[in-house]
C-alpha cells in the first residue's frame, strides 16, 4: 500500500540571503489512504505552505516529497488531487453548474459526461436546485460547497483543503464540517485539512498534526480515536473535550519550545 503523502526532511525557504524566511524545516510525514489529517498551528507556522508544496503550487527547498509515490508535479499532472481554498474562487461569469464543470472541461471530458458528473457532484453537496444560479446569488457557505463539488468532480484520490471554512460563521461552519465528513465517507478520499480551529481539527480528523511556529515543524501528532461516525452527540462527548485539551496542550508545548 503506497503512502498517499510521504515527506522526508522537507524544508521551504522564501527569499534570499538577508531577506530569507525559513517557512518549513525538517518535515517528516507519512499519510495513508483514507486518512483525514489536519494540520494545525499558530499563524505563520507554515501549514498552508506545506499544503501548497503537496499540491505542487510551490517547490520544496530541501528534502523529498512524494504524493501517491510520484513527485508532486507528476501527481498534479495526473490530476490526483482537488483543492479547496479559503475563498471559494468561483468564476463569477459561470453558473454554479458550469463552475463545477470547469476542471472536467480542461481534462477533456465531453459535454454529456461533464453535465452528468456536475449534476452528481451537486447532489453530493445538496445544491442541485442551484445549478443554474450564479455565484453571487449564493451565500458563503453555499459557495464553498460548490467549490468542494468542483474539487471532487474528477474523482481525485486526495482532497487538499486550506482553511475552507475560515470565512464562515460558527453555525454554518459546524454544518459544513458535518457535510465534509459525509462526503469523505462517500467518496473514500484522503483529506489533508489546514485549520487553526482546534475543535474543528478534532471533530473532523483521524490524525491531528500539530505544527510549531516558524520555522514550521511537525511537533507532535494526536491520534483522534473518536468513532468514525461523528455527529452532534460527538461534540458533547467527554472524549471530544479531552482530545481538544490534548491538542491545545501540544500546541502550547510547541509554542514554548520556540520561545
Amino acid at each position: 500500500m503506497t503512502a498517499v503523502v510521504e515527506a522526508r526532511g522537507v524544508g521551504k525557504v522564501f527569499g534570499r540571503d538577508a531577506d530569507a524566511v525559513e517557512a518549513l524545516k525538517d518535515i517528516d510525514l507519512l499519510l495513508s489512504p483514507g486518512d483525514f489529517a489536519s494540520l494545525i498551528g499558530p499563524s505563520g507556522c507554515g501549514k498552508s505552505t506545506l499544503l501548497r508544496l503537496i499540491g505542487d503550487l510551490a517547490v520544496p527547498s530541501a528534502g523529498e516529497l512524494t504524493v501517491n509515490g510520484k513527485t508532486p508535479g507528476q501527481a498534479r499532472l495526473d490530476r490526483d488531487y482537488g483543492m479547496v481554498f479559503q475563498s471559494a474562487t468561483l468564476l463569477d461569469w459561470r453558473t454554479v453548474k458550469k463552475n463545477v464543470e470547469l476542471p472536467l472541461e480542461i481534462m477533456g471530458f465531453e459535454s454529456a459526461s461533464r453535465a452528468a458528473k456536475a449534476n452528481e457532484m451537486l447532489s453530493l453537496v445538496q445544491l442541485e436546485r442551484f445549478a443554474s444560479h450564479f455565484p453571487w446569488q449564493l451565500s458563503g457557505g453555499m459557495q464553498q460547497r460548490v467549490a468542494i463539488a468542483r474539487a471532487l468532480a474528477f474523482n481525485p484520490s486526495i482532497l487538499l483543503m486550506d482553511e475552507p471554512f475560515g470565512a464562515l460563521d460558527e453555525m454554518t461552519r459546524e454544518l459544513m464540517q458535518q457535510e465534509v465528513l459525509r462526503i469523505w465517507e462517500e467518496t473514500a478520499t484522503t483529506v489533508i485539512f489546514v485549520t487553526h480551529s482546534i475543535p474543528e481539527a478534532v471533530f473532523l480528523s483521524t490524525r491531528v498534526l500539530v505544527m510549531s511556529p516558524r520555522p514550521g515543524r511537525i511537533g507532535e501528532e494526536v491520534t483522534i480515536d473518536l468513532p468514525i461516525r461523528r455527529d452532534e452527540d460527538t461534540r458533547e462527548a467527554p472524549r471530544y473535550f479531552e482530545l481538544i485539551t490534548e491538542v491545545r496542550e501540544a500546541l502550547r508545548r510547541g509554542d514554548r519550545s520556540e520561545a
Binding site: 490530476r79 482537488g82 483543492m83 481554498f85 468564476l91 461569469w93 459561470r94
Partner: protein
C-alpha cells in the same frame, strides 16, 4: 415623483424625454425672454441665429437641395458613410489591440519594450491631426475611406491594448492557482479565466474608442473634397448658415445621434457578452 415601481428602462426613457422637454423649453424660453428684453448677449435670439426648435425638426423633412431628397435622408446616408469608415478601423484596431494585449501578458520583455509607446501614443493627438493624415494619404494615393479607417484603428488599438492587459491580469491569484492545480495549459487558462475576466475592461475601452472613432471620421473628412460624409456636410451647412441655419442644426443633431448609435451598439454588445452574468441586484 413616484418612480419606484418602474423598471430601469422605463425610468431612463422617461428621463430622456424629460431632458429633451427641458432643453426645448430652455431653448424657446431663451428666445422668448431675450427677445422681450431686447438682449443680444451671448447669442442673438433672432430666428436666423437661434431657429425655433420646430423649424429645425421641420428642416429635416424638407429637401436639402432643390428637388432633392429630404435632408434627413441625405444626412442619414452621410452618417452611414462616415460610420462605415469608422467601423472598419474600429474592428481592426480592437482585434489587433486584443492580440497585442495577450502578447504583453505572456511576454514580459515585449511588454517592457513596447508598452511605454502604447502609453506615449496617447499623447499624440491623432484625432486632431486626422485631416493632415488624410491629406497625406491622398498624396500617397490612398483612398480616403482607408485613411479614415486607419485613424479609427489607431484610436481603438491603444486603449484596447492597455485595458486588455489590465483585464487579463485581473483574476485573483487563487483562480490562477486553481487552474494550475488542474494542470491546465496556458491557453486554457487564458480562454477560461483571463479573457472572461478581461471583457468588462475591454468593453470600457471599446466604448470610448467608438466615440473617438466617430469624431476622427468626421474630422478626417474635413479637408478633402469628400462629398457625402458628415464632416463635409457640417462644413457646407456652416457656410450656408446665413441663408438656412436650420440645416446646420439638423446636421449636428444627426451627427450626435450617429455617435450615440455607434457607442450604443457597443454597449448592447457588452450587455450580451458581459453584463448578463455579472449584474448584481
Amino acid at each position: 415623483m413616484a418612480t419606484r415601481g418602474m423598471s430601469r428602462a422605463t425610468r431612463s426613457g422617461l428621463s430622456i424625454i424629460a431632458v429633451i422637454v427641458v432643453f426645448v423649453a430652455l431653448w424657446e424660453g431663451y428666445k422668448l425672454v431675450w427677445t422681450a428684453l431686447e438682449l443680444t448677449w451671448p447669442v442673438r435670439p433672432d430666428n436666423r441665429t437661434v431657429p425655433h426648435t420646430w423649424d429645425i425638426v421641420g428642416a429635416l423633412f424638407q429637401p436639402a437641395q432643390r428637388n432633392g431628397p429630404p435632408l434627413l435622408w441625405v444626412e442619414l446616408k452621410a452618417a452611414f458613410l462616415t460610420l462605415r469608415e469608422a467601423l472598419v478601423g474600429f474592428l481592426i484596431g480592437g482585434i489587433v489591440g486584443f492580440g497585442l494585449g495577450v502578447l504583453f501578458v505572456r511576454s514580459a520583455t515585449a511588454e517592457r519594450a513596447f508598452m511605454p509607446y502604447v502609453v506615449a501614443s496617447q499623447t499624440v493627438p491623432i484625432i486632431a491631426i486626422a485631416p493632415m493624415v488624410v491629406v497625406w494619404g491622398g498624396r500617397l494615393a490612398v483612398p480616403q475611406w482607408l485613411t479614415v479607417s486607419i485613424i479609427a484603428a489607431y484610436l481603438t488599438f491603444f486603449p484596447v491594448v492597455i485595458n486588455t492587459v489590465r483585464g487579463l491580469r485581473s483574476p485573483e491569484a487563487t483562480s490562477m492557482e486553481l487552474m494550475r492545480s488542474y494542470a491546465s495549459t496556458p491557453g486554457e487558462t487564458l480562454w477560461k479565466v483571463q479573457v472572461p475576466a478581461a471583457l468588462p475592461y475591454i468593453f470600457t475601452a471599446l466604448k470610448v474608442s467608438a466615440a473617438a472613432s466617430v469624431i476622427g471620421a468626421i474630422v478626417g473628412e474635413l479637408p478633402a473634397g469628400f462629398r457625402g460624409g458628415l464632416g463635409r456636410d457640417l462644413l457646407q451647412f456652416s457656410q450656408q448658415f446665413t441663408a438656412a441655419p436650420q440645416k446646420l442644426f439638423a446636421a449636428v443633431i444627426i451627427a450626435g445621434l450617429a455617435g450615440i448609435a455607434f457607442v450604443g451598439s457597443v454597449t448592447l454588445a457588452e450587455h450580451r457578452f458581459v453584463a448578463s452574468a455579472r449584474r448584481q441586484t
